[in-house]
Subunit: 442 residues, 2 copies
C-alpha cells in the first residue's frame, strides 16, 4: 500500500482541456490471453465486420473487432467531449473523516456530463461514426432512460434523428428522462409499441405487459433495419463501447499524479453491462500488466442481478429474443428477469465480454452488494460530499466504504478510487423510498 | 468591440483549484454613490448590526453592512467550494454556428454545483458563519426548492439541522427537490403548516390555500425566533448574499483571459432576487468603474414579474407580511402576486438593493423576456450545447441570443457572457409543457 505526501490540500484534480485524451485505449492486444470471439448467431462462426453492417456502421464494426492498442478520437468527437471533459477526480476528504478511515478515497465524477452520467462518452462517438457514413437517424432501447438521453443528446450534436423505445414501465413511471430525451429532440415510444411487428405481437399476446428491455431491443433493431436510412446503437456490453469509455481511466492516471499518488491501490466500480467499470479500470489494468503497478479492481454488482458472482462463463445472446451475436460472457441466462431494483442500469443478465474475460483471468474481482446497503452508502455520500450519486454508483461506493472502514491505522492506508458513474437527481424517488424504509434488502 | 486571436480551439476554460478566489468582492466602496441604507421596519432608522441579530448571526449581519472591498473567505468554506469550484466558463461554439453570429458566446456554468445551481455559493458560507456562532439549525423558505436544497446541502456539510418551509403548491407538485432536501437530511414542511401561529392562522382563514413564498418566510422566521438555537437564512436579495456570489464574476475575469479576451463586451444574467446576476456582474463592473473596461450588463427578468422594467425604485418590505427591514429597491409592491410561470426563482416582487442601485445609476440595463421566448432559447441551447438550462437561466440565454443574432459581420463581433445559473434537469416538466405548446406567452 502506498502513502501520500504531495498536494495535501487538493480536493479536486481538474485537468486542463489540453490534457483531454486524444486516443481511446483498447485492452485487447495487452491481455495475457485473447478473448473468445463473438459468434454469428446463425453459423456460430466468428463474427466479421461484414456481419455487423446491417445494424452498425463500418467504423464501429471495425472498432468492435480491432486489436489495435490505440484508436484516434476524431476531432469532431473531441469538440463535443470538451463540453464536460476532462471530468474531475475528487478526494472525498469529508467522507474519509466521517468514517474515520486511514484510506484516501477518491471518486471520478462522470455526473458532470450533459445528461449526468458516463453514457455520453460512447453515445457521442457512436453518433459521429454513423453520421459520417450517411446514417440519418439512430434507434435504440432504454430502460430508465440514461442511455436513451445520452444518445438523444449525441444525435442532436450531429444533426441526426433519434428514436428511442423506452420500456413501458419506465415510460409511464419515470417521466423525467423521457422529457429529457424529447428536449434534445428525440422521439420516444413506449415499448411494446404498435410501430413494429415484434411490438404488435407482444401487445396482442400480452395486453397487460409493461414491457422489457429485451422487447425494446427487438423493436429498435427491427425499426432500424426497416427504415433503410437508420442504424441501431447499443449503450454498453460491446467492445467498442468499452473502448470509448477508456477516456475515464486515462484521465484518472494523470489525475492521481496531481494528488501525489503513485497508483490506485483499489478501484471500485459498479457493473451492469460493464462499460463504466471497464472504462475506468482498463487503462489502469494496463499499468498492472506492464508491471508498473499492483492495483486491485473490484466490480460491484447488485445482489439482485449477480452475473459475475453467480452466473456462468459461457456463450449467450445479448438479448431475450436471441437475435444478437453470441457473446462469451458471465451470464445469468438471457431469459433471466431480475427483481425491479432502482439501479435500472445494473439489471442486465450478462456482462461485457472483455470485462468478463478479465474476471475469468483473475485480473478483476467481483462482489455483490444489496440494494439497502447501496442506498445507505449513497445517502452518507450525499450528506458528506454533497453529491447525490446515481443508484448504480451507490453500489461502487458501498464496496469502497466496506473496504475503507476496515482501514484505520497508517499501515492499512491505501488509495481507493470509486467510479462515480453519474448523479442521481433524476432518481430521487428511489432515495425517497429508501428514506421511508420502503426498500427491501435485495 | 473586441476581437479575439488567442486560444482558437479552447471550448472550456477550467481554472485549477489553486485559482479559486480567496476573498469575496463587495462593490459598495467602489460605487460612485453609496446605496441607500436598509431601514428598521419599526423606527425607519438605518438598520444596525444589532437590529439583525435576532435572525442572523453577527458574522453575516456585519457583512450585510460592510463597506470593506474584500472579505476573506474562511478556509472551511473554501474546502466545500472546492467540491465544484472553480466552475467552467464554456464557449458556446456550436450555438454560435447554429445561429450564424459573428459574436463569441460564452456561458459561466453554475450547474456543476452539488444541487445544480449557483445557490450553494451563499448557502455554504451562511451555514458556516452560523455554525461558528453555535447555531444548531437553520430555517428557511423555498418555492420550487433551489434555495432549500442548497441550504440543506450546506447544513449537512457543517453538521447543522435544516428545516425548510416549502410553498404547498411546490411541495405537492414538484416533489423532486423536496426529496433532494430530505436526502441531504433536511426536514421539509408544506407551507402553510400547523407548526407556526402564522401557518395555523392562514389555514384557518383560507382552508384551500396552496401557500405563498411570503407566507413561508413568515413561518421560517417565526420558527427560528421561537426555537432559540436556530437562525433564519435568506437565499438572495441581501448584500451579504450578493457578495458571496461574487466568486462567479471573479472567476470569469480570469477565464476570459484564457480565451484571449480583453473584456466581456456584454453580460446577460437572469434576475429574480438579483444575487446571481450581481455575483457575475459586479467584479466586472468594478473593472468598468476603474476605467479598464467598457462592459455592458443586461439584467433579464420575466415579463410576468418585471420589477426592474416596470417597478418603482423605492423603499419596500422584502416579504408580504412586512416583517423584514425596508429595502430601497425596484419593486412591484410587496403584495404583487406574479403569474405562475415556470421560472419560480424569478417570481419575486423586489430586486436586490445593490443591483437596483446600479440599475438606477445607469450602470446596469434591464430587459424583460417572455416565457415562451425563454424556453425557445433553452431548447435551442440544449440541442446545440447539450446542457438543459434552468428555466431562470433561459431568460439570460434569450437576451443574449437576440443580441448575438443581430451581429453577423466581423465589425459587429463581440464577446457575450451568459450567466448560466443552473441546470434544468429537475424542471423537465416545464420543458415538456413548452414542447407540447401548453405555455402561454407571459
Amino acid at each position: 500500500m502506498t502513502s501520500i505526501d504531495a498536494a495535501p490540500d487538493l480536493v479536486k484534480a481538474q485537468l486542463p482541456e489540453s490534457e483531454l485524451p486524444r486516443q481511446w485505449y483498447n485492452i485487447v492486444p495487452d491481455l495475457p490471453e485473447p478473448p473468445a470471439p463473438h459468434l454469428h448467431p446463425g453459423t456460430r462462426e466468428p463474427l466479421t465486420v461484414e456481419d455487423m453492417l446491417g445494424i452498425f456502421p463500418r467504423g464501429l464494426a471495425e472498432q468492435e473487432l480491432s486489436t489495435e492498442r490505440w484508436i484516434d478520437i476524431p476531432e469532431p468527437v473531441l469538440d463535443v467531449y470538451r463540453i464536460w471533459r476532462p471530468s474531475p477526480l475528487i478526494r472525498a476528504r469529508r467522507l474519509e473523516k466521517e468514517i474515520g478511515t486511514s484510506a484516501r478515497l477518491y471518486y471520478k465524477y462522470e455526473g458532470v456530463s450533459p445528461i449526468g452520467s458516463h453514457k455520453t462518452n460512447s453515445s457521442v462517438p457512436q453518433a459521429y461514426f454513423n453520421s459520417i457514413e450517411g446514417v440519418k437517424r439512430l434507434t435504440t432501447e432504454t430502460g430508465a432512460g440514461q442511455w436513451g438521453s445520452a444518445l438523444a443528446f449525441a444525435c442532436a450534436a450531429f444533426g441526426m434523428g433519434c428514436e428511442v423505445w423506452q420500456v413501458a414501465a419506465s415510460y409511464e413511471g419515470k417521466p423525467y428522462r423521457r422529457m429529457l430525451m424529447e428536449t434534445f429532440g428525440a422521439t420516444v415510444h413506449s415499448s411494446p409499441s404498435e410501430l413494429t411487428e415484434a411490438g404488435r405481437k407482444m401487445r396482442a399476446d400480452f395486453p397487460d405487459t409493461s414491457g422489457s428491455l429485451g422487447m425494446a431491443v427487438s423493436e429498435a433493431i427491427e425499426a432500424a433495419v426497416g427504415y433503410g436510412d437508420a442504424k441501431y446503437s447499443l449503450g454498453s456490453v460491446l467492445n467498442h463501447v468499452v473502448m470509448h469509455q477508456s477516456v475515464i481511466g486515462l484521465e484518472v492516471l494523470k489525475q492521481l499524479t496531481m494528488f501525489g499518488e503513485k497508483q490506485a491501490d483499489v478501484v471500485y466500480g459498479c457493473a451492469g453491462g460493464g462499460s463504466n467499470l471497464a472504462g475506468l479500470a482498463f487503462p489502469l489494468l494496463a499499468e498492472n500488466l506492464a508491471g508498473r503497478t499492483t492495483t486491485r479492481f473490484v466490480a460491484t454488482e447488485p445482489s439482485a442481478c449477480p452475473s459475475l458472482t453467480q452466473g456462468r462463463f459461457d456463450y449467450d445472446h445479448g438479448d431475450v429474443a436471441g437475435l444478437t451475436p453470441l457473446l462469451k460472457m458471465y451470464t445469468l441466462g438471457n431469459d433471466f428477469v431480475p427483481d425491479p431494483i432502482h439501479a435500472g442500469g445494473l439489471r442486465y443478465h450478462g456482462m461485457a465480454p472483455l470485462l468478463s474475460h478479465t474476471v475469468h483471468l483473475g485480473l478483476v474481482e467481483a462482489a455483490a452488494v444489496g440494494q439497502v446497503e447501496a442506498f445507505e452508502a449513497g445517502v452518507l455520500f450525499a450528506r458528506t460530499e454533497g453529491l447525490v450519486p446515481a443508484p448504480e454508483s451507490c453500489h461502487a461506493i458501498a464496496g469502497a466504504l466496506a473496504d475503507a472502514r476496515a482501514r484505520t491505522s497508517p499501515e492499512e492506508s491505501a488509495s481507493i478510487v470509486i467510479g462515480l458513474s453519474g448523479h442521481g437527481q433524476l432518481d430521487l424517488p428511489a432515495y425517497s423510498a429508501f428514506l421511508a424504509g420502503d426498500l427491501t434488502a435485495t
